[in-house]
C-alpha cells in the first residue's frame, strides 16, 4: 500500500490529496507523521507542500462543502490523533465522489470519525477556556498549558474579548508555541520556555484561590470519579489549585 507523507498542515494535507488524485492512487493512505509505522510492504512517498495544488483541492472542497467544510478540516488537522490525515482524506474522497455536502450524512462510515476529530479539538478548546490559569507578572498575564491538540491560537479570540486591554501570553509548553495579545493585536510564534515564575504577591493570591478551592468542597460527599471525568488529571499540572 502506498502512503503519502505530508507536512502537518492543511496545505500539506491538501497537497497530498492532490497528488493522490493526480497519480490515480486514491486508495493510498495519507499520513503527516514523521515516523510512520505500517506494514512491511508499504511504499512511502514524500509530498512537498505546494500552494497551487493545495488551492485546487481547497476550491473543490469549498465547492461542495462550503467554508464550513474548510473550517472543520482546519480544526480536525489540529488534532493529535495519529490517523487524522487519513480520516480527513476519506471524508474528502466521499464528498468529492458524492459531489455534495456530506456533513449531515452521519450514517456514512467516513463522517463520524471526521466529526469526532473536529469535536474533540473543539471540546479541548472549550475546556481550556475554563482550565487555563493566568499568573500576573509586571502587568502581563501569563498562562502555561500542555494541551493534547494544537489549540493555543484558537483561545486568542475568547481571551482577548474577555480581558480587553490587558496583555496576555498563552504558552503551549508541549509545542513551544505562544499565542500573544498586547491589548490591541494578536500574534502567534514559537520560542523557548520563558521560565516565568510567580512573585510573592502572586503567590499570595494563588494561596487565596487554593483556600477557596478547598473550602468549596463538600467533604462529606466525595466523588473523585466525577471530578476525574470532567477534569482529566493530565490537565491539572498547570492548574494552581492542584499544585
Amino acid at each position: 500500500m502506498k502512503t503519502y507523507l505530508c507536512e502537518d498542515s492543511v496545505n500539506g494535507l491538501f497537497s497530498a490529496v492532490f497528488r493522490a488524485y493526480a497519480e490515480k492512487n486514491t486508495a493510498a493512505r495519507i499520513s503527516c507523521l514523521l515516523y510512520e509505522q505500517t506494514a512491511f510492504d508499504s511504499e512511502f512517498i514524500d509530498v512537498k507542500t505546494d500552494a497551487d495544488h493545495a488551492d485546487r483541492v481547497k476550491a473543490a472542497v469549498a465547492r461542495y462543502g462550503g467554508n464550513k467544510a474548510l473550517r472543520e478540516i482546519g480544526r480536525a488537522m489540529r488534532s493529535c490523533e495519529a490517523e487524522k490525515a487519513d480520516v480527513i482524506f476519506a471524508y474528502i474522497k466521499r464528498m468529492l465522489a458524492e459531489k455534495r455536502d456530506i456533513s449531515r450524512s452521519f450514517a456514512y462510515a467516513e463522517v463520524m470519525p471526521f466529526v469526532t476529530l473536529s469535536e474533540r479539538v473543539q471540546l479541548e478548546v472549550h475546556r481550556f477556556t475554563g482550565f487555563l490559569r493566568f499568573e500576573e507578572q509586571n502587568g502581563l498575564l501569563y498562562a502555561r498549558f500542555t494541551p493534547d491538540n494544537d489549540i493555543a491560537d484558537l483561545l486568542l479570540g475568547h481571551f482577548s474579548r474577555r480581558l480587553g486591554e490587558l496583555p496576555f501570553l498563552i504558552h503551549d509548553a508541549r509545542r513551544g508555541k505562544f499565542a500573544a495579545w498586547d491589548g490591541k493585536r494578536a500574534a502567534c510564534f514559537f520560542a523557548d520556555d520563558p521560565s516565568i515564575r510567580p512573585d510573592a504577591a502572586e503567590k499570595e493570591l494563588i494561596g487565596l484561590w487554593k483556600r477557596y478551592f478547598a473550602a468549596a468542597d463538600v467533604k462529606s460527599r466525595p466523588h473523585p470519579k466525577q471530578q476525574d471525568g470532567y477534569l482529566p488529571r493530565r490537565y491539572r499540572k498547570n492548574m494552581s489549585e492542584f499544585q
Binding site: 450514517a107 456514512y108 462510515a109 480581558l163 480587553g164 477557596y212 468549596a216
Partner: protein, 417 residues
C-alpha cells in the same frame, strides 16, 4: 483584599447552594472593561465532590438572624462567623477573574439584621462591581425574601441571573423547619422578577436579568415525594418562566432536630430528580407521566426508561419514520442522537449498523426501536426488564460520576447533569 480565614468561612457557608451555572447571558465587554459572559457557561474547575466551580460562590455574611433548622448558618449553630465588605468582594472577584479562576460572582448572604439591610449590601456590591470595577462577567445574585421590591427590581438591572430559594417543597415543611420564612414571601419576588423578565422581552436590548431566574429546593430534609417535588417544579416553570430548578440533596448539618434525617438523601435520588427535570424541560414530558404509581421515581431505571417500560404499547418505533418528538422518548436516544437520526435518514434508509456507526447508544434503545423494519431487542418482557436493570446498575456509578466526553460538551453547554 479579604484575608484567607474569612474567605474560607464565607465560602464554607455558601457551598451548600448547588446552583453553579454561568450560562444564559451574552453580556459583552466594553472598552476599558473586564470580562464578558459566555452564553453556554464555562466550568473553571471541579472539586473532589465532583461539583463544578464556575462562579466565586460566597456569602457577604454568614451572621444570620434566622434559625432555619436545615441550614448550616442558622443562628443557633455554633460555627465561625464572618462578613466581607463590598470592596473586598469586588477586589477578589476581579483578581480571580483576571486569572481565569472563575466566570463571575455568585453572591448570597445570610439575613443580617433585616432582609432590606442585607439586600442593600448585596445591591451595593453588585453596582460597585459593574460601575467602579467595570466588570462585565457573569453575576448571579441571591434575592433575600422579604426585601423591598424596589431593591429587587434594581438588582435585576445589574445581575445576569437572580434566584430566590423555595427551600422546601411544601409550606408545611417550611413551617416546621424554617418558621421565619413563608411561601408568600418567597413566591412574591419570584413573580416580580418573572414579570420583569417577560416585560423586558419587548425592548430589543434587554438588560433585565438576561439569564433569567432559578430556584433551589432541598431534597430529603422533609418527607415530600419525588412526585410532589416534580409537580412543584413543573408549576414553577410554567408560572415564573424559571430557567432551572436545582435540587440539593440534604446534607446533615443539624443532629439536634428530631424532624431532620441523620442521613443524606443520597446522590441517586438527586440524580434521578435531575434526569426527570431534564425530561420536563427538554423532552416534552409532564410530571404526571414521569412519576410512577407510588409517587416516587424508580431507583433501578432512569425516569425515561421507567416511563417506556410502563408504556410498551407505544413501542417499538421505526427510526426511519418516527418524528423527533417520538425518538427522544426512546430510552438511550437523546436530543442530539434524535436530530442526527433525522438528518441521516434523509440520505439513506438507516439500519441497526448505521445507528451504531452514528454512536447512538443501543444498549437500551434496541428494545424500543426497529430499523428498516427489523427488531434487535429482547422480545421477552421480563428478560428485557432484567437486561435494562443490569445495564443501569453497571452504568450507574459511571453515569453519576463519569460522563463521556461528548456528553460533557453537551453538559457544559446546556447545564445538563
Amino acid at each position: 483584599m479579604i484575608d484567607a480565614n474569612r474567605l474560607e468561612i464565607l465560602t464554607d457557608s455558601a457551598k451548600y447552594d448547588v446552583s453553579c451555572s454561568s450560562s444564559g447571558s451574552k453580556r459583552q465587554n466594553v472598552k476599558g472593561g473586564l470580562g464578558n459572559a459566555s452564553i453556554g457557561g464555562i466550568c473553571h474547575s471541579f472539586t473532589p465532590d465532583g461539583r463544578c466551580i464556575s462562579l466565586l460562590k460566597i456569602l457577604m455574611s454568614n451572621k444570620c438572624a434566622y434559625d432555619c433548622q436545615y441550614c448550616v448558618n442558622r443562628r443557633s449553630n455554633d460555627v465561625p462567623r464572618a462578613s466581607a465588605t463590598p470592596d473586598e468582594i469586588c477586589e477578589l472577584t476581579a483578581a480571580f477573574y483576571k486569572r481565569n479562576y472563575i466566570e463571575g460572582l455568585f453572591l448570597s448572604s445570610a439575613v443580617e439584621y433585616s432582609p432590606d439591610r442585607t439586600m442593600e449590601r448585596l445591591l451595593e456590591t453588585v453596582i460597585k462591581l459593574r460601575k467602579q470595577y467595570c466588570f462585565n462577567g457573569y453575576i448571579h445574585l441571591k434575592g433575600i425574601p422579604g426585601a423591598d421590591p424596589l431593591l429587587i427590581e434594581r438588582a435585576g438591572m445589574y445581575a445576569d441571573r437572580m434566584s430566590f430559594n423555595i427551600e422546601l417543597p411544601s409550606e408545611s415543611s417550611l413551617k416546621l423547619l424554617a418558621p421565619q420564612k413563608n411561601k408568600a414571601a418567597i413566591v412574591k419576588p419570584m413573580r416580580q422578577l418573572s414579570s420583569g423578565i417577560l416585560r423586558e422581552k419587548y425592548p430589543k436590548r434587554s438588560r433585565f436579568l438576561p439569564a433569567g431566574q432559578t430556584t433551589q429546593m432541598i431534597v430529603g430534609a422533609s418527607r415530600e415525594t419525588d412526585g410532589q417535588i416534580l409537580r412543584l417544579s413543573e408549576s414553577l416553570y410554567d408560572a415564573f418562566s424559571l430557567k432551572r430548578v436545582y435540587f440539593s440533596s440534604y446534607v446533615p448539618v443539624n443532629f439536634k432536630n428530631a424532624f431532620l434525617p441523620v442521613q443524606s438523601a443520597g446522590l441517586l435520588r438527586e440524580h434521578r430528580l435531575y434526569q426527570a427535570d431534564w425530561l420536563l424541560r427538554f423532552y416534552g414530558f409532564s410530571a404526571a407521566e414521569i412519576v410512577g404509581e407510588n409517587g416516587n421515581l424508580a431507583e433501578e431505571y432512569d425516569p425515561k426508561c421507567a416511563w417506556a417500560i410502563r408504556h410498551m404499547e407505544q413501542f417499538p418505533v421505526e427510526v426511519n419514520a418516527a418524528p423527533v418528538e417520538t425518538l427522544v422518548r426512546v430510552p438511550g436516544i437523546g436530543i442530539k442522537s434524535a436530530y442526527r437520526i433525522r438528518e441521516a435518514r434523509r440520505y439513506t434508509r438507516l439500519t441497526f449498523e448505521d445507528l451504531k456507526k452514528m454512536r447512538v447508544v443501543m444498549k437500551r434503545a434496541r428494545h424500543f426501536i426497529t430499523a428498516g423494519g427489523k427488531f434487535y431487542g429482547e422480545e421477552n418482557f421480563g428478560r428485557m426488564k432484567n437486561l435494562l436493570a443490569m445495564h443501569e446498575q453497571s452504568e450507574n456509578a459511571e453515569q453519576l460520576s463519569f460522563l463521556k466526553e461528548n456528553e460533557i460538551v453537551q453538559s457544559v453547554i446546556t447545564g445538563q447533569l
